[in-house]
Subunit: 345 residues, 2 copies
């Protein structure tokens, strides 16, 4: 089969690799219908996030169950499924505590030893019962791109908003205009935010933010951005801030943009040197909560809304390509010519 | 009147200063019945926390209202009152948001310009209606030391526990065996914690911790302490961790001792270089929330329990001295021969 493989900074290609197949009785094999490229893949492509040459890459996919192991109970061949960006057994102590990303049997597509990548024609899915969510959709369903966002960016944006404790009437600021930040806008509005202030300067992304419910825009970065949020909030700062970038600067901006007593929900994958400004957080009582998003938990609560047409994050995919053009997809995102690239098999 | 004055590292003395007097119509003058020395005063005494020579010092006191300004409505001369470690008007937008430590008219005893210190015979209290809480006690009430803890350490320990979201059945670890950490043990038990693991090595303090409800002790620091917590929790770490020290090491220890998906409530006044290990927090979904404690908010909910005998944090005062012996008090705490020194006028 064909799978995207990371060969080094700036070098990914669609290679022929051994077919995905059942290995454990709890595995399923999923034929991929569509996958996509994540901002975190681009950090690897740029050589900032470490990956090993030869690793398959891609961690978001929607597909059809092709085969199941003898112990798989909740899935049948032919089921259309959404896969979260990690696998988990759903039964261990960490899963029971609500932290499936810490599942003791869990792992990450591409990065864990022996794991397939998602930007591929098929994927072996460990612990299929705990990992996959079957959805009432067909292979050619037009909502597949919207469902695909539940694999990562929509669940991650929702996690940012939940960690920031967004509630009715809140003023929310969103740091990061990538797909996660944009989904954070949608999520904040779902949770009742009255105002959502988007920080960004890319007109195409700001247009999506407005479509998703952003009410205000601050076209600055760093301290000036935090100041811009204060100007829009009578000097107080935002009640809740979603940090969707993952750099020291973006975390500092998020904390500076928060009102005293506010909460920053952070989901940007950390890269580079990272220090949280504890002294400022202490003096102004700003909380920092978040981390890698337990998107598996959120898929069931979001999938119904997608299927009913009440939630459509698919506009984050502003470029669609066939899987065969995955190299072009990486180059396009690296050049910031796309927010997020959809790959169709 | 006599007031303790900071003259430089290692140098405090009880000096004669101008009498505390009304300046604003919203002021009260409080004659101090008892005050105490805080761990954060010792950081100043050691030259680690910056203070200006000539500043009065001390921020915890219980006293009797001696005089009130013309606009004071809720207090009468003769009222016994508890003062939080900061003053606040109780009406501004920050107070209304529940962050009285960010009160736009607020300040800190000793440190704000023109402010009296608490280790003194009397204190001018700005915004007396918003700041002071009158209690049903007499000048010679034996519960005054317990009430005095509400000025800072008990409220701060409670804040740590609330920020850590301690709830029924939780396993809680407490980093820091000072008065705040000890009060954190009491607070965690009040909130229903099933197990409270105290990190410490000082037998006298551990005895108080056990009296306050600690169920386990880990006699290590740093990574070994976090490992000790894991050994007591089947490898998981504590559900909730209270960080009551304020160093980079203690924050790292608290995060390392937390279970995945757990929350660290941090109230240790930050000193020295401070970096939060964001990468670890991200990967294990550990939240960090806390900061300077809004103890004014907690006094009303705690004072009833103290007066009814259901809450007695006063064992944190293991040395009592007359105010005249304040220099001895600092030396005693600096030498770690006392957990917390009570000063009686």
């Amino acid at each position: 089969m064909r799978s995207t493989v990371f060969h080094g900074p700036g070098a990914v290609s669609l290679d022929t690799v051994p077919d995905a197949g059942l290995r454990e009785a709890t595995d399923a094999v999923v034929r991929v219908l569509c996958s996509c490229i994540c901002g975190s893949d681009i950090w690897a492509y740029r050589g900032i996030a470490k990956r090993s040459p030869g690793q398959p890459i891609g961690h978001e996919f929607v597909g059809v169950v092709d085969a199941i192991g003898s112990e798989v109970r909740t899935l049948r061949p032919g089921d259309v499924v959404v896969a979260p960006f990690f696998w988990c057994d759903g039964t261990c102590v960490q899963c029971a505590r609500g932290v499936p990303t810490s599942c003791i049997a869990g792992g990450f597509w591409g990065r864990s030893t022996g794991a397939d990548g998602g930007q591929a024609e098929a994927v072996r899915v460990p612990h299929a019962d705990g990992t996959l969510v079957a959805v009432d959709a067909t292979e050619d369903d037009e909502r597949l791109p919207a469902l695909l966002t539940l694999a990562d960016v929509m669940g991650t944006g929702l996690h940012a908003a939940k960690c920031a404790e967004v509630g009715p009437g809140d003023v929310v600021a969103v740091v990061g205009d990538g797909a996660v930040g944009l989904c954070g806008v949608l999520a904040a509005r779902r949770l009742g935010a009255e105002r959502v202030i988007m920080l960004g300067r890319n007109d195409a992304r700001l247009a999506i933010a407005r479509r998703f419910g952003a009410t205000d825009v601050v076209r600055h970065r760093g301290a000036a951005a935090a100041e811009g949020v204060r100007e829009l909030t009578a000097g107080l700062g935002a009640d809740r801030v979603l940090e969707c970038v993952g750099t020291e600067e973006s975390i500092a901006t998020a904390i500076a943009a928060s009102a005293d007593g506010g909460t920053v929900g952070y989901v940007g994958v950390p890269h580079g040197v990272l220090r949280a400004p504890i002294r400022e957080m202490f003096g102004r009582s700003v909380a920092l909560r978040g981390g890698i998003a337990p998107v598996r938990r959120y898929i069931p609560e979001l999938v119904g809304d997608v299927l009913h047409g009440d939630l459509d994050p698919s506009p984050v995919f502003d470029v669609g390509l066939p899987l065969a053009a995955v190299e072009e997809g990486y180059a396009t995102m690296d050049a910031r010519l796309a927010t997020k690239v959809l790959l169709r098999c």
